[in-house]
Symmetry: C2
Subunit: 514 residues, 2 copies
């Protein structure tokens, strides 16, 4: 045969097969073996479309479609509300939504659930009115609560196929290059969105800071993004990142934090190469302060700090206490600025952070992890999903992932919160299995998981007084108001949410409360 | 049912389906929907294996397997030779190899082809003894010559499934984080390897600079890498990057370059937002110099420069002539240093660079591209694959991709090389179709593709004298030694290589010469 240029070609060649002659193929006609999307840019090489409605139409969003969102704008996010309200106006129904987290700002979602626009929710964390509506049984089926790593795994494994990922983009150009470090709603890294961008069938960037091509730096690159929509505002900056994160100044909290830092040192981890993660709560931040002191005293250089990143961690990086920071999400403006300026402050995707199915997550290399708890029980199981009486207030986020991956997972908690015990016989909801938890640190003593006898020996040798978890349970019960110990709920009540473990299995269920 | 923690769960929930109880799943047992590899790290969280043989065994490499390599170490690369020689010692046969390019240093491959260890080659560029052996018909089947963007497309689309990607890693840690900016064989960005790392079933990092975890910065992250092998040397630094790339100082070459720069300006591209790519050849570099002058004279700030990057481009970035550089491969030490230090000098994957099947490659946004040619013909078709008499000497690399994507694709060439004409009636091999070529610039005049009448008008209006391509052909024929115009080869001769266009179609075939 001859191709379009008149070149003589064989029709078939041994060792190769049939030949496609030049001029006969178009890229769009390639076999769709990996669901690779067709190029969406028009001839002018712009992916800009005028509004969200146009984007939803071009992406062929139909009833029952799955839309994903990320939560780097946290309680200042406008994007999920805008997209879903537009979907409602278009008459779409029965949507499955997969935001990486849901905050009080997403309250309009409640009405969209009631109206049948949203049918199912998959998320890593949910608080506020949406959580309350789930607890009340508003969804037709159960909400699926995932861990951050489990969400990445489910997306990568094809368990949670996403039709369209909407990426709130603090900065974008008209060809889909995105960064989170510039613009009025700069939020820092975009670690959760990276997984959605890689695996969603269609990816739409929504930005209020459209810059000339190419956006620089680029955190999510153009070859993953189909469309770009410019909107007036993607969020409310003051609710996205706090100006500063505050260390606890309460005596009990500081005492718990100091003990947690001693546990890390006694366990032998404050050595060169030490790696560390902690949350943004008051006690967690205080632990970072005590760990910093210990590292400085011993002249130790750590390998990395990871996680959601705060000013405290940035300071440790800048003081040379860590070689690098792996950052899935910036918690404050100092972290945003550090990520913008310091090459040792690196973004990581949710998959790199915590997926159990990838070739190795950062959590697997973590020495010490500081965890919070709503409740801890006699088997060291931890609940960060519900209140003691079963009301949905959160979910794992990275809790189970970091607990499973780290060598030393420390829960720091007071014995009681308000009137009720936090150390209980059996947690109302298991978020993280006790097998992943090594130590519980309270103001009344330190309990080591009996599975970790060697660790208990080290701590005792270092002069840390250990108590059995049962003793903490007794103390907590004594310190709490009588009658606050709730009896197990009726298992015939309807299941309103499933707490998925990072591997996709169900570690517990959440039942309706009216 | 009850799960492993004793929690009571329904077996089935409407809207969700059957529940997997916690404790019953292992991650490895997940359905392999996306061919997501199982985690390969051992319990110590190290992916280090003692040698290449062990890596080949763990990756279950069998006869007929496909192994990929990247060419950022160019003619200093030791990794492909080491891996294939180990495969030969293990008795493996009929391997398909997919290096992004092949250089003279890969001469040992000839004996491995003869011995039946290597059966097929897919590559973007091949020169030296391996190219000669292909021309002679040493391979059982045809070699597949791809464009850089076409190779990325084929890998992403599943047309070229890779069993194991070997990544020559100037720096790596024991968990597979890789960068190209440190170590004795620092080569800069790793753009070609990024695609292999994402899509290969198994990924092996081969390094001579093993650093403590985590390598920082990270160009290819740990979640894509299965194994790490430490070897004595991955390459010979002096052959990887040149200390400096040299601008031509020959009068004819400079005249051609000056004209090419004038064409860009006359076409109206030297304006704010201008984007530019050129190669590392002497004329191409000289064009960059003239373009720099024009940009400075007009006070223009360009958007980006792209491609394989040289000191000339780095200087333009540092002088503020471009906002950013997109770099798939560093051509000299200055580029390596710039990529290491300057956040505006960004890596891009081969897919982001040039794939026609992704959601939009960088080449699509390119204004002006300077291209070389072994031959150009009356239809503006360009040959960079073979000599005039059909001997394999290269291949497209990014030639066809940038020509197709850029708004202004300029071929710069002398009329003759040595004794033979370079402007010919019909190129011996079509690499890039004439439809993609806008202008041919020679020392004897400028020819505009008749398809681009509007462009011809602009150039004429700017005082650039245009000549028909037929006139350049006549002049080249007159200037060349009689008898150098070769007659078409016999189409019954065996096909030894296929020149694939970026969409996977066959644009030409290369036939055996003995």
């Amino acid at each position: 045969m001859r191709n379009a240029l008149g070149r003589e070609l064989p029709d078939y060649i041994d060792g190769f097969g049939d030949l496609h002659a030049y001029g006969q193929l178009t890229v769009a006609s390639l076999p769709d073996k990996t669901a690779l999307p067709i190029p969406s840019a028009d001839d002018n090489c712009s992916k800009l479309v005028p509004d969200l409605r146009t984007a939803l139409k071009i992406c062929s969003v139909r009833d029952g479609a799955t839309l994903s969102f990320h939560h780097h704008l946290r309680n200042g996010d406008h994007v999920m509300n805008m997209v879903l309200q537009e979907a409602a106006r278009m008459g779409l129904r029965d949507l499955r939504i997969a935001p990486s987290s849901i905050f009080p700002v997403h309250e309009p979602l409640v009405r969209l659930i009631e109206a049948g626009v949203v049918r199912t929710i998959h998320t890593g964390y949910v608080s506020g009115p949406v959580a309350d509506s789930i607890t009340r049984g508003l969804l037709a089926g159960p909400a699926i609560l995932q861990t951050h790593g489990g969400r990445a795994r489910a997306i990568e494994a094809g368990e949670l196929p996403i039709d369209v990922a909407f990426i709130a983009a603090p900065t974008a150009d008209d060809y889909g290059n995105i960064n989170g470090v510039s613009g009025p709603n700069a939020c820092g890294t975009l670690g959760y969105a990276m997984v959605d961008a890689r695996f969603a069938k269609r990816v739409v960037a929504v930005t209020d800071n459209l810059v000339s091509y190419p956006a620089c730096p680029v955190d999510i690159t153009q070859e993953w993004v189909d469309l770009v929509v410019k909107v007036e505002s993607i969020g409310e900056a003051s609710r996205i990142v706090s100006g500063t994160t505050r260390i606890t100044d309460d005596f009990v909290g500081l005492a718990i934090a100091a003990t947690a830092a001693k546990v890390i040192e006694a366990a032998g981890f404050i050595e060169n190469g030490f790696s560390f993660q902690t949350g943004a709560g008051g006690i967690s931040l205080a632990v970072a302060g005590f760990v910093k002191n210990a590292m400085q005293r011993k002249g130790v250089t750590g390998s990395f700090a990871s996680g959601g990143v705060t000013a405290q961690i940035v300071e440790m990086l800048e003081q040379g206490l860590f070689q690098t920071v792996f950052d899935v999400q910036c918690f404050d403006l100092r972290a945003v600025g550090s990520y913008r300026a310091n090459r040792a402050h690196q973004a990581m995707s949710a998959s790199m952070y915590a997926s159990p199915a990838q070739r190795g997550a950062v959590v697997n290399r973590l020495d010490a992890m500081i965890l919070g708890a709503a409740e801890v029980d006699m088997q060291f199981n931890v609940n960060v999903t519900t209140t003691a009486n079963g009301r949905l207030i959160g979910g794992s986020g990275g809790h189970s992932d970091t607990a499973a991956g780290s060598k030393l997972a420390i829960v720091t908690t007071r014995l009681t919160a308000g009137t009720h015990a936090k150390i209980v016989e059996s947690v109302s909801t298991v978020t993280t299995p006790g097998a992943s938890i090594d130590v519980v640190v309270t103001e009344a003593g330190v309990a080591v998981n009996p599975l970790r006898a060697e660790l208990a020996g080290r701590l005792s040798a270092a002069g840390i007084a250990l108590v059995p978890i049962a003793r903490l349970y007794d103390l907590a019960r004594e310190a709490s108001v009588a009658g606050q110990i709730l009896k197990p709920r009726d298992s015939s009540t309807r299941v309103v949410a499933l707490q998925q473990y990072r591997d996709g299995s169900i570690i517990d269920v959440i039942r309706a409360i009216r």
